[in-house]
C-alpha cells in the first residue's frame, strides 16, 4: 500500500474511478434498445409458454420414456453457471487472491441471474405449475427435489447478500454523485445503511463478508451436488454413478468461468472498463479455466472409461449410443470443441488475450450446454426394459420449436437480470479498487468532492 500518496492525488485518482464506474449506471439509449429487444424476444417466447400451459407438456418433444428433456438439461446448465459466484468470491476470495477485486461483482451478478432463473426453468418443466406451492405445503424431506428447492432458494438469497455487502461502501460513495439521478442517489443513501467508513464499520463489514463467503461454499456445493442427485439417486444406466456430485461441480466451474469471461469481455468493451478489466485479468481467468477444465476432463475420463472397460450389458448400449451411435456427433463435438481443444489452446499465452479467450469461452459455454443435454437425454432412451408398443416419437427424443423458445426465454431472463443489475449498481467495486490504489477513506473524499 502506498500510504504516502498525497490527498490531492488520492482525490483525483478516486474521481477517475468513480467517473468510470458511475458513467455506466442509469438508463441510456443503448440500454433501452437492448432491453427493448430482450423484452420483445421474451414476449414471443412467453407465448410459447402460454401454448404449453394451454395444451400440456406434450407440445414439447418429451414423452413417457424420455420424460426429461431440454428443460432439465437447461436447468442443470443454469445451476452450473451460477456456481461461478461461489468460486470467485469464496474459493479465490478466501484464499487471498487479489486480482478478483474487479471481477467479483460481475461473478456475483451472473450467479444471481442464473440461480434465480433456474427456479423458473424447473417450473416450466412442471406438468402442473400452478401446484408449485404444494412443494412447500406437502413437501417430503426425502425427495432430492425438496432439497434442491431449499438450496437453490438459499443460494439465491446468499448470493444477493454477497452482492449487497460489498456494495454498501460503494453506495455511500455514489449517493452524492451528481452524475446519478436524484431518485437513485436517494435509493443508494437508503441502502447504504448509515455507512460512514469508520474502522469499526469496516471491521464489521469484513467479518460479515467473510462469514458469508464461508457459508456460500457448502451451500453452492450442495446446490449442484443435489442437482446431480436428481439423476444419481435413480438406478438408471449413465446416471447411477457415485462421482456425479464432483463431476457436476467441476463441470459447473468450467461453464461458470467461461460465462464470466464472456461477460467480462462485453462489460469491458461496452462499459469501457479497460483500465480495470485488464489483459492481466483475462490471462488469470484463462489459466483458471484451464485448471477447472483439466479437472473436469479428469472426471469425464473416469465417468466414461470405467464403464467402457467393463461393458456391462446396459452400460454397453448406452456408451455405444454416445461413442458411435445416435449421439456420437454431439458427444465428440462437445468433448473436442468444448473441452479438449480449448484446454490445449489456452495453454498458450496469446490465446488468453481478451478476444481469443472470449471466443474460446463461447465454445466452452455452448459445449457445456450440450454436455448437460448429453447427460440428461441419452440415458432415458435406454431403460432396462425394451420400449415397445408405443409410437416412434416415444423412442427417440426430438426437441420441438416451442420448448426451444421457452428455453430461449430463460436465457433472455438471465440476460435481463444481469443487464438490470449491472445498470443499477456499480459493476466494479469502487472502495476495494480505491484501497488497492492507496486511497484511504474513499467515503470521505467522495463526499468532500460532492460538497
Amino acid at each position: 500500500m502506498d500510504s504516502t500518496l498525497p490527498v490531492d492525488a488520492q482525490k483525483s485518482a478516486l474521481k477517475k474511478i468513480i467517473d468510470d464506474v458511475a458513467r455506466n449506471i442509469g438508463i441510456n439509449k443503448k440500454f433501452h434498445a437492448w432491453m427493448g429487444f430482450l423484452t420483445l424476444l421474451l414476449f414471443v417466447c412467453l407465448y410459447a409458454y402460454y401454448i404449453q400451459l394451454r395444451d400440456g407438456l406434450g407440445v414439447a418433444g418429451i414423452r413417457d420414456y424420455v420424460s426429461w428433456g431440454m428443460y432439465i438439461a437447461n436447468f442443470v446448465f443454469f445451476v452450473a453457471s451460477s456456481l461461478i459466484g461461489m468460486l470467485i468470491t469464496a474459493v479465490l476470495g478466501l484464499s487471498g487472491v487479489k486480482w478478483i477485486t474487479p471481477v467479483a461483482r460481475i461473478a456475483e451478478i451472473i450467479a444471481i441471474g442464473f440461480a434465480a432463473v433456474a427456479g423458473l426453468v424447473i417450473v416450466s418443466d412442471m406438468g402442473r405449475p400452478e401446484r408449485l406451492v404444494y412443494v412447500f405445503i406437502y413437501g417430503r424431506i426425502q425427495s432430492p427435489i425438496l432439497w434442491d428447492v431449499t438450496v437453490v432458494t438459499t443460494y439465491v438469497l446468499i448470493s444477493l447478500i454477497l452482492l449487497y455487502l460489498p456494495l454498501i461502501p460503494d453506495l455511500k460513495i455514489l449517493s452524492r454523485n451528481p452524475m446519478l439521478p436524484k431518485w437513485l442517489q436517494k435509493t443508494y443513501e437508503l441502502l447504504s445503511i448509515n455507512w460512514k467508513g469508520t474502522n469499526e464499520q469496516y471491521q464489521l463489514l469484513h467479518k460479515a463478508i467473510k462469514i458469508m463467503s464461508v457459508l456460500i461454499v457448502p451451500v453452492a456445493l450442495a446446490i449442484h451436488t443435489v442437482t446431480s442427485w436428481l439423476f444419481a439417486s435413480t438406478s438408471r444406466v449413465g446416471w447411477d454413478s457415485t462421482i456425479f456430485g464432483p463431476y457436476f461441480v467441476t463441470g459447473a466451474f468450467v461453464a461458470g468461468t467461461a460465462f464470466l469471461i464472456i461477460a467480462m469481455y462485453f462489460f469491458r468493451k461496452n462499459y469501457k472498463l479497460h483500465d480495470y478489466l485488464t489483459d492481466f485479468h483475462f490471462d488469470k481467468l484463462g489459466k483458471l479455466l484451464v485448471l477447472v477444465s483439466l479437472v473436469y476432463l479428469y472426471f469425464n475420463i473416469n465417468e466414461f472409461l470405467v464403464p467402457a472397460y467393463k461393458l456391462k450389458a446396459h452400460d454397453a448400449v448406452h456408451l455405444k449410443a454416445l461413442f458411435s451411435g445416435h449421439h456420437a456427433p454431439m458427444f465428440w463435438s462437445v468433448q473436442l470443441f468444448g473441452l479438449l481443444i480449448p484446454i490445449v489452446l489456452m495453454l498458450f499465452k496469446k490465446f488468453r488475450k481478451p478476444l481469443p479467450l472470449m471466443l474460446i469461452s463461447l465454445f466452452v459455454v455452448i459445449g457445456s450446454w450440450f454436455k448437460r443435454y448429453l447427460i440428461v437425454v441419452p440415458t432415458q432412451e435406454h431403460p432396462f426394459l425394451p420400449i415397445q408398443n408405443v409410437p416412434e416419437n416415444f423412442k427417440l427424443y426430438q426437441p420441438t420449436l416451442i420448448e426451444t423458445a421457452i428455453t430461449v426465454a430463460s436465457f433472455v431472463l438471465v440476460l435481463m437480470i444481469i443487464t438490470v443489475l449491472s445498470k443499477a449498481f456499480p459493476i466494479i467495486t469502487i472502495w476495494e479498487t480505491a484501497h488497492e490504489k492507496g486511497i484511504h477513506e474513499p467515503e470521505k473524499l467522495s463526499i468532500d468532492k460532492a460538497e
Binding site: Y138, R140, Q142, T150, I193, N194, K196, A208
Partner: protein, 304 residues
Amino acid sequence: MNRINILIILAAIFLNFSLWAQETKPWDIPEDQANKTAPAMFTPDMAKVGKDVYLKTCTSCHGDPGKNNQAKLNPVPSDLASPGVASQSDGTLHYKIVHGKGLMPAFKNTLSATDIWNVIAYIRSFHTGYVQPEPRVIKTFGGSSLKLTLEFLKDELKFKVLAVGVKDEIETPAEGVELAIFTNRYFGKLKLGESKTTNAQGEAFFDVPEGLPGNEKGELTLQAKVVDTDTYGDVMASGVFAAGEPSNKPGLTEKRAMWNVGSKAPWWISLAYPLGVLAVIGTIGYILLLLKKVYSQGNDASEN
C-alpha cells in the same frame, strides 16, 4: 424404422393365425362325459335359478337365448337356443361349461355343480321337443342323501370329516366317498392337500397344513366338500377352527423408510435437513445483526 413396423405387423398376423388355428380346434369330449345325465329331472324351479346364474355369468358373451345377440368374438359364441345346441347331449353341455376351451372359460371353480345343472335346465327350457334322459342313479351307497360333519382334532392336528348316508332318517356311515377340504381366501377357496376317500366308518382324516395363515386369531374358515358332485350334489360342511397361524403381520408402511411419508422419514434425514436449514438461517440472521451494528455505528460516527 418402417421396415421394423412391417415386421411387427407381419409377425402379428402370423401370430393371429396360429392363435386362431388353436382357437378353432374342435371340442374333444370323452364319451363317458358326453353320456352323462343330470342328477335329477329338470324342474321350472331349477330353470329359474339357472336363469339368474346365466344372466350373471353367460349373457355377456352368449347373449339372450333365441335373440341372436351374442358378443362379436372370434369365433362367435353360439346362441344357446339354436338347434345346434339343442342337438347336443346334456353331458356335452355340462363338459363344455365345466372345462371351457379357448375364449370359453372353465367354470369348474366358479360355479357349483348344482348351478351348472341349473343353467343347463334353463338352456333346455328353450329347446322345444327336448326330452330329458333318465337321471343318473346314485349306486355307491344306500342312502338317498349324504351328510357331512367336520371336526378339528386339536391334539392330533388333523381334520376329521364324517360322511353318513341318510335314508328314512336312519344314518349309516358312507364308505368310499371322495372328499376334499378347502379354506376361504380373499378371492376364492384354497384346496388343502389331496382329496381323500372315506373308510368303512365313513371317516376321512386330513392333515393340518403347516404354517397356513388364518385370521388374526389364527382361525381358519374350512369347508369339507364331496368331490363327485355329479353323484352326490353339492354336499358340504363348514366350520371355523383355530388351526392356522395367526396372521398379524404389520402393515407395510409402519417402519421409517426413504419411501415412506414425510413424517416417517429415516431419522437422520429428519434430523439433518432441519438442522442444515436452521444453521443457514441462523448465519444469515447473524449477518443481519452485524448490519444492524454497522447502522448504529454510523449513527455514533456522525455524532462524534
